[in-house]
């Protein structure tokens, strides 16, 4: 195979990658999921910062909330992950079997003087900071959708 550092031939403009997977409600699956999604972003030349910070942290937050909050760590309950990425943007969907939550209410300013000393409550805040858009809706489960535009 051509080594990745010496790409030959013409670059692909219309590349579109998608990933779908399902994991049991166990936080030990998180790292592999994150690694796989980050690699897809690498293939599409997302910035190093996005590949090594924005995507890993935001996705880890969404996954741990789905596992711990949504599915309350019932191993028989599943978390579905969908990733859809092209040269313009990444869309991530994390689906749990819980009853959902009110995003506007649960998302707090983690930098306020009372919150900055707290141990928890930074998950949704980080998703909102690291992604361009965070949405929550119900669709065969509780869906958290993260959208991020590609940076060079």
């Amino acid at each position: 195979m051509t080594s990745p550092d010496r790409p030959r031939g013409l670059p692909l403009r219309s590349l579109h990658l998608a990933l779908e997977l399902e994991i049991p409600s166990d936080v030990r699956y998180i790292e592999r999921v994150v690694e796989m999604v980050a690699r897809q972003c690498e293939h599409l030349a997302y910035s190093t910062r996005q590949v090594s910070l924005n995507v890993p942290v935001a996705l880890t937050e969404a996954l741990s909330n789905a596992i711990l909050r949504g599915n309350r760590e019932h191993v028989s309950k599943r978390v579905q992950v969908r990733c859809d990425v092209n040269r313009d943007r990444l869309v991530l969907e994390v689906v749990d079997e819980g009853t959902g939550f009110d995003l506007a209410e649960c998302l707090v300013d983690a930098t306020s003087p009372e919150n900055v000393v707290r141990e928890d409550g930074r998950g949704l805040f980080l998703m909102a900071q690291l992604m361009d858009r965070v949405e929550r809706f119900a669709n065969h489960g509780n869906v958290v959708r993260l959208t991020m535009r590609r940076h060079d």
């Binding site: 880890t60 141990e119 998950g123």
Partner: protein, 110 residues
């Protein structure tokens, strides 16, 4: 082996290798609390070999810093790469922790 602890003078130095996230943060917490219970007072966490940290990892750092202070001890952080610096800035946790650029500086600062 995500967390390597070693004693340097009277300072406990912890290297975080790989991620500090929901799946392993308890391990870090327990290891540091064990040392605190043994009477150790000065702690340095070095992130030079760290990938990323999630909110629960940050939460453990906040929790440890409180517990160490309660025992009259001190916690310093060192070697945050640019991504991790950004993470601490976004959450304003850079105002809560004493962060040194290098391990040497952190060791000198106690």
């Amino acid at each position: 082996m995500s967390f390597a602890l070693r004693k340097q003078g009277e300072i406990v130095v912890v290297d975080v290798e790989g991620q500090l996230i929901v799946g392993n943060r308890q391990e870090l917490k327990q290891k540091v609390l064990d040392e605190l219970e043994r009477g150790e007072k000065k702690f340095l966490i070095d992130f030079s070999q760290t990938g990323y940290i999630d909110s629960s990892g940050l939460g453990v750092l906040v929790s440890l810093s409180k517990k160490i202070r309660e025992q009259g001890g001190e916690l310093r952080l060192a070697n945050l790469n640019d991504d991790l610096k950004t993470l601490f800035e976004l959450t304003k946790l850079d105002t809560l922790f004493q962060i040194a650029d290098t391990r040497e500086r952190a060791l000198e600062s106690f």
